[in-house]
Symmetry: C2
Subunit: 397 residues, 2 copies
């Protein structure tokens, strides 16, 4: 059994804060700041350029990729780390389309991140071959997978509602018609028990600053399935995806497998922070994590609905159809969210009317859930949200 009191102690949480926004930005792991400062001083400062060899910087993306692989049901050697999630989505999708030259449809859904759709739009325009990004409702995805589809590009857990797609089922359906799959795990990795290998996924990508706690803007990851390793080719062919980058050859010879998905020089300082953050996962069993997550979110939904405060559940009621977050709708969601933050309960708002609450099991406890329900109940009962300062919009929410 995973000891969640012990994992909670691995994070530095401010006093008086109940943090239910780890689905947007995970908290600072204890010791991470010291680890990064030490890397800067002892490695960069002392070794200078020699750090690339002597401190293993060049191998960090693969080494940290393997640490993430364990959390998402992927074999060692199938994940690498670096760049942003937007770049990784684009790269995986472009690789998939390149393997399906006779098809023109990219299938996605309206539950996907707008950013993933923007990147796909841009790719389709750039290719100048008449690709179509077809966006359907989440519940219509399965029926929309036909033999015109080159790639099915989906985010497994909906960032607004927490609704989970059936990765194995949709991947099987895609494969049955000869299509490839690109899965975005931004709200899955570290939140639910992902099984990329078991689902037969072709490509997957994700960020590390949400449930993996790598810090604001920490590097993204990309997975290339073993069955794709010999075929997938990186269209963003930077020197570090080259089989022999230090030969500085004129011709590009890709490294095999996911190593070929590397692009530019790895972000060593950011990788040090992420590496430190991944220590928090030592000894954590993903099945235990999922059980804890469900217990937390079920308790929260029951508590909020018992308030009778007009907050409408926007997430699936079936916990097995839901990730590690719960969303509610309310006409005044924005102001309610601000009022909660003022009382130390940090969730977030997503336009037009959703408040999201993330339940990261590594550090959110049943006591936090009960306390958050009490505070929200008080805010709703007293209309404490109805103040001008809570209605004023800030740049980032």
């Amino acid at each position: 059994m995973t000891d969640f009191d012990a994992t909670r102690a691995r994070f530095s949480l401010p006093d008086g804060v109940i943090y239910l926004d780890g689905n947007s930005l995970g908290p600072l792991p204890v010791g991470a700041a010291e680890r990064v400062a030490r890397m800067m001083t002892d490695e960069w400062g002392a070794l200078l350029i020699r750090g690339w060899n002597d401190a293993g910087w060049m191998q960090a993306p693969a080494r940290i990729g393997d640490r993430i692989a364990r959390l998402i049901g992927a074999a060692p050697g199938t994940v690498t780390v670096g760049d942003t999630l937007s770049i990784r989505v684009w790269q995986a999708l472009a690789s998939a389309l390149d393997l399906m030259p006779e098809r023109r449809v990219i299938l996605s859904d309206s539950g996907n991140f707008p950013s993933d759709l923007y990147m796909a739009d841009g790719l389709a325009q750039l290719k100048s071959l008449g690709h179509e990004l077809r966006v359907v409702a989440p519940e219509d995805v399965a029926d929309a997978i036909d033999d015109t589809v080159a790639a099915v590009m989906l985010t497994e857990v909906d960032y607004r509602t927490g609704r989970i797609h059936d990765m194995a089922g949709l991947t099987a359906r895609a494969h049955a018609v000869g299509a490839l799959t690109v899965w975005d795990l931004a709200h899955s990795a570290g939140a639910i028990a992902v099984d990329l290998a078991g689902a037969g996924a072709d490509f997957a990508v994700g960020c590390t600053y949400k449930y993996l706690n790598g810090g604001p803007g920490s590097p993204a990851f990309i997975y290339v399935a073993p069955h794709m390793a010999a075929r997938a080719r990186n269209p963003l062919q930077g020197w570090l995806g080259h089989a022999s980058p230090f030969e500085f050859a004129r011709d590009y010879t890709p490294a095999p497998g996911v190593a070929g998905m590397r692009i530019g020089t790895p972000p060593v300082i950011a990788l040090a922070a992420l590496d430190a953050a991944l220590d928090a996962w030592e000894g954590v069993e993903m099945a235990n994590l999922r059980a804890r997550s469900i217990a937390l979110s079920e308790a929260f939904i029951a508590g909020i609905e018992a308030l009778g405060a007009g907050l409408i559940l926007a997430s699936p009621r079936d916990p097995l159809a839901r990730g590690s977050q719960v969303s509610f709708r309310h006409e005044h969601s924005y102001a309610i969210c601000r009022a909660l933050i003022a009382r130390g309960v940090i969730g977030d708002f997503r336009a037009p009317d959703v408040i999201r609450f993330g339940f990261a099991p590594l550090y959110v406890s049943p006591g936090d859930v009960a306390h958050a329900v009490d505070i929200l109940g008080d805010i709703m009962a007293t209309r404490a949200w109805d103040r001008p300062e809570f209605h004023a919009r800030t740049a980032v929410t």
Copy 2:
């Protein structure tokens, strides 16, 4: 006048090391490790998600871009920071090609980084419109600019030899035939007095881990000229290049100018390190920097040639045609480089037979140059390089 003793004191250089590899990785600035640790603790740790607003993380790419703009002759508001140089090269080139739909030639030279050429190759293939990457010798670039050329993509300072391209002259020539320019400043920014505005450059990109000392793999920058701001469109249209990213709208509406070149979530921890590093440029006049750089490299060349040790100058002899590095060729360059490193003089090797020495004026002194010449003279006179351990190749050099 710039006080170079004062700027040298802004870096933490190990005892016994003469660091002539700042053209590959700049050294650790004093206080940078503490600044990053403090950002992680006081901002990420204490503010959590609120850091995006309250600590100005979302504006960091523009704010730091403005700090770099001053060093490269660019107006405020024309530079943003993030992603890797490979991505930025690709993005600038793709933007340029998009504006020249009737032309098919990308012109570059054999002095460019292989990585820039790989990225251009990949882009040409992806566009499926028959684009040609035409690579000529550096001295043939001017004559090769004709009205078939869509974009001239060049690295201003050659990473092997230090040879400087005439940015203003080549840009004028490109404009005369209706072509656009993409300048890679990897070995220029912080090394020479770059004048992007004066040269009329359309796009420019660069890395920050060389002469700008941002740390291993620190974020890259991109410049979009004011005269291009209304026309250039980012093909990698991630959410942060959107005019209103937090509306999460389905359609992509680009932010104007260089803000539209943002892609994914900014790398806040890495940006904190870069921001600290840029403090070292406070009060530095680029004209003074260039004069100091020339004095250092001239003294080094004179010293090495006086040794009569068979090291052949591979850089232009005219200091005005040379960046802030000097390269020599020798049959045993690799072993000589290793022997120098063993004696505390850090330069680097570039295949097949080049040793590079960088003279970053902020921290390399005339005394360092004299000392390095003495040590190299001793190594050559005693054949100290001719030991098995210096011939054995390491992964990264």
